[in-house]
């Protein structure tokens, strides 16, 4: 106890110090970059929206990353460098002085900055202008920048704001910024219009009246929605946050009466700019559920930058069980994908690379026959299809259970091996690896029996599957009569 006492005290003291340091860092950040910061430090989470100013114009080259043009490549597989992405359209070059803001969701642990780094909940580029790989790389870099005992937020903001971070994701030596994207034409349009907007206006320095709280606030505290209506952040945060908490996601839209009349809801990016990461998740889940209730066949386009709801084509009937009824084509970005695995269309005859089907079949089987949940899944994927998949799933499951129960996997080539008789020292027929049939570990080929003869090992004296060594030598019936 005497040892523990002061330790606890010290960590408590540390936490107090950390809290003060965080507070101070936040205040400094807000005074230097009022336009970047939002949210409340007392809640422990921080939202930064960092506009990128390149300091003069720079060449930006957008290349096709091949996701849409070639079905073989996946977005995740394409690296951030330009080398991989030679297929598809010619790159589009732009001269830009700004890039759309990056959104950072950060949680400050109670031991930051003395003992732990900030936790990066989410890093997102507006209009998805950075690829997922690039974002991952940036996340790693951000964490690596932190040194024990030092506040890092200022440096992070500076690193992004100045555009210096681009060097980290650019593999080329020259100053051209290379951005791989599934749809270069689309992105180019978005980047150009963003650049034009930020060049001609000083949004953040002007004050804007907010029609909700009826006060005028500086642009840095406001947000301009896609429909160009401006509201202050705290108001939108509260409005949308409340709607999401209470399940009224129809309210997550621009509050302007014109937009309300049009019935246009906020898009994912707008929601992300306003509410917390958890709320974004809940909003997405609720929206998905509502869309399902409305039209069970709707699937949102799987591309991050698109997300358009795609209904089942009218040409597909319920009894169609050919592979073609899995095909969906987004009418917005014309991405063709498989309705089951939501990956790039892989043809009617190839089964999905990842058994996504299992998840909805399990869901299907969990509900009563004839229940509304079952009907929903049937109408979404086709009744006959679901029937076929259930059969297939049950067969697969039985196979898997059988293999689990009756076979051992070779530790090298992973072939399933079934023992018909003999001892537990196995030699793989395919790759010649020596292994133990009981526990699946690799054995030393020159001394395989040591595994069974060394006292203390779990398979000691278990070369044969009998209770004890004595059982090995039971007399064979009738033997003595001979």
């Amino acid at each position: 106890m005497t040892v523990n006492g002061p330790q606890i005290e010290r960590s408590q003291e540390d936490e107090d110090v950390c809290r003060l340091m965080q507070q101070e860092e936040w205040e400094v950040l807000q005074s230097i970059y009022p336009e970047c910061s939002s949210a409340d430090i007392s809640k422990g989470s921080i939202k930064l929206e960092i506009p990128i100013e390149l300091g003069g114009t720079r060449e930006v080259e957008i290349v096709d990353d091949g996701t849409l043009s070639s079905s073989a490549e996946r977005l995740e597989d394409a690296g951030p460098s330009c080398k991989i992405v030679s297929q598809g359209l010619a790159p589009i070059s732009l001269s830009l002085s700004t890039l759309p803001p990056l959104l950072l969701d950060i949680v400050l642990p109670s031991s930051y900055p003395l003992h732990s780094a900030p936790i990066l909940l989410h890093l997102h580029a507006t209009h998805s202008w950075l690829s997922r790989t690039a974002l991952l790389l940036l996340k790693q870099k951000l964490i690596a920048m932190w040194a024990e005992g030092e506040g890092i937020l200022y440096e992070w903001v500076e690193w992004f704001k100045s555009g210096n971070f681009l060097e980290a994701i650019n593999s080329t030596e020259d100053s051209i910024v290379c951005l791989p994207h599934p749809s270069p034409i689309r992105l180019a349009k978005l980047l150009a219009s963003h650049d034009a907007l930020s060049a001609q206006e000083v949004f953040s320095h002007m004050s804007h009246p907010c029609a909700i709280c009826m006060t005028s606030l500086k642009g840095s505290k406001c947000i301009r929605l896609a429909c160009s209506h401006v509201f202050c952040r705290p108001c939108l945060e509260e409005y949308w946050g409340m709607a999401i908490r209470e399940g009224g996601i129809g309210q997550v839209r621009c509050p302007d009466p014109e937009c309300v009349k049009e019935g246009i809801e906020a898009n994912e990016e707008e929601v992300r700019r306003v509410v917390s990461e958890d709320e974004v998740k809940r909003w997405k889940r609720l929206r998905e559920k509502r869309d399902l209730d409305r039209d069970p066949t709707i699937i949102h386009c799987p591309l991050d930058f698109c997300q358009t709801p795609v209904p089942k084509p009218k040409t597909i009937t319920d009894d169609d069980s050919s592979g073609w009824n899995r095909l969906r084509t987004c009418h917005e970005c014309s991405y063709s994908f498989c309705a089951y695995c939501r990956r790039t269309w892989h043809g009617p005859h190839t089964s999905c690379a990842i058994p996504f089907t299992a998840s909805f079949i399990i869901d299907y089987l969990a509900h009563e026959p004839g229940s509304s949940e079952r009907l929903l899944i049937e109408s979404r994927y086709g009744k006959n299809n679901v029937k076929k998949l259930v059969l297939q799933y049950e067969e697969d499951k039985a196979n898997r259970e059988y293999l689990e129960r009756e076979t051992t996997t070779c530790p090298t080539c992973e072939v399933k091996v079934q023992k018909s008789h003999g001892c537990n020292h196995m030699t793989c027929a395919r790759c010649k690896t020596h292994f133990c049939y009981r526990c699946g570990t690799k054995l030393n080929p020159s001394h395989p029996y040591g595994h069974f003869s060394t006292p203390g090992l779990s398979c000691y004296s278990k070369l044969f599957d009998h209770e004890s060594v004595e059982d090995e030598w039971q007399p064979i019936e009738g033997f003595e009569d001979l």
Partner: protein, 222 residues
């Protein structure tokens, strides 16, 4: 000061300064979140000349949740309950938006009086009346405006001054005196006749459609 209170105070002040809209707001008690709003009935409608009062409650999470409003003044209108004053208006429900204000919502109520939505009624009987005979509906609405909202007496020019102060139950129910008298003469109580004929929507073309036997059958029900 919390944001709700600040906004409500601002709204009340704005309303006071704006005399052109003729919308009035008054505190009911000490709370700024319980108000009494009023506006004149729109011109060119049966509500013209009346003064309509609305009970307004400002919810905890205003302006993110809609205002709660109901008519204190009795109104004869398809979208207003003739009994409770409850209002059926989209902006008080799903179509609410936090940029709407006390004033703009009261103006919307005022324009609801100009353009009833009988297909989405709050009061089904009134809506049926509206659909069956527009002229009969309008004269009933006008009569209600006169007796409840202080509007002009629609019968004044006919020299009906004599009955002043006496409320005409038949006119309130939107029925014809002759019809009520006809069934009362059969020996039924007047109040009951009015009630049944109102429920059966015994107006306009329905008078020829609904047989006398049908009415008597209803009247005989306990």
């Amino acid at each position: 000061m919390d944001a709700r209170l600040r906004r409500v105070n601002k709204e009340i002040a704005d309303c006071k300064n704006d005399r052109s809209s003729k919308i009035q707001l008054e505190l009911v008690d000490d709370s700024p979140f319980h108000l009494n709003g009023s506006f004149p009935g729109p011109e060119g409608t049966p509500y013209e000349g009346g003064h309509f009062e609305v009970d307004i409650r400002i919810p905890e999470s205003y302006p993110f949740q809609p205002l709660k409003m109901k008519f204190i003044t009795k109104v004869y209108h398809p979208n207003v309950s003739s009994a409770s004053g409850a209002i059926c208006l989209d902006i008080l429900k799903d179509a609410w938006s936090p940029v709407l204000t006390l004033k703009s919502t009261l103006i919307s109520l005022q324009s609801l009086l100009c353009s009833p939505e009988p297909n989405d009624p709050q009061d089904a009987e009134v809506a049926k009346h509206y659909m069956t005979s527009r002229s009969s509906f309008e004269s009933t609405a006008r009569y209600w405006t006169h007796i409840y909202a202080g509007g002009p007496d629609p019968n004044a020019k006919d020299g009906g001054k004599g009955k002043d102060g006496q409320r005409d139950e038949v006119a309130i129910a939107g029925l014809e005196k002759a019809h009520v008298n006809q069934f009362e003469a059969l020996g039924f109580e007047r109040g009951k006749v009015i009630d049944v004929l109102r429920r059966l929507n015994y107006r306009g073309v329905n008078v020829t459609k609904i047989t006398e036997d049908r009415v008597v059958e209803e009247l005989l029900k306990p």
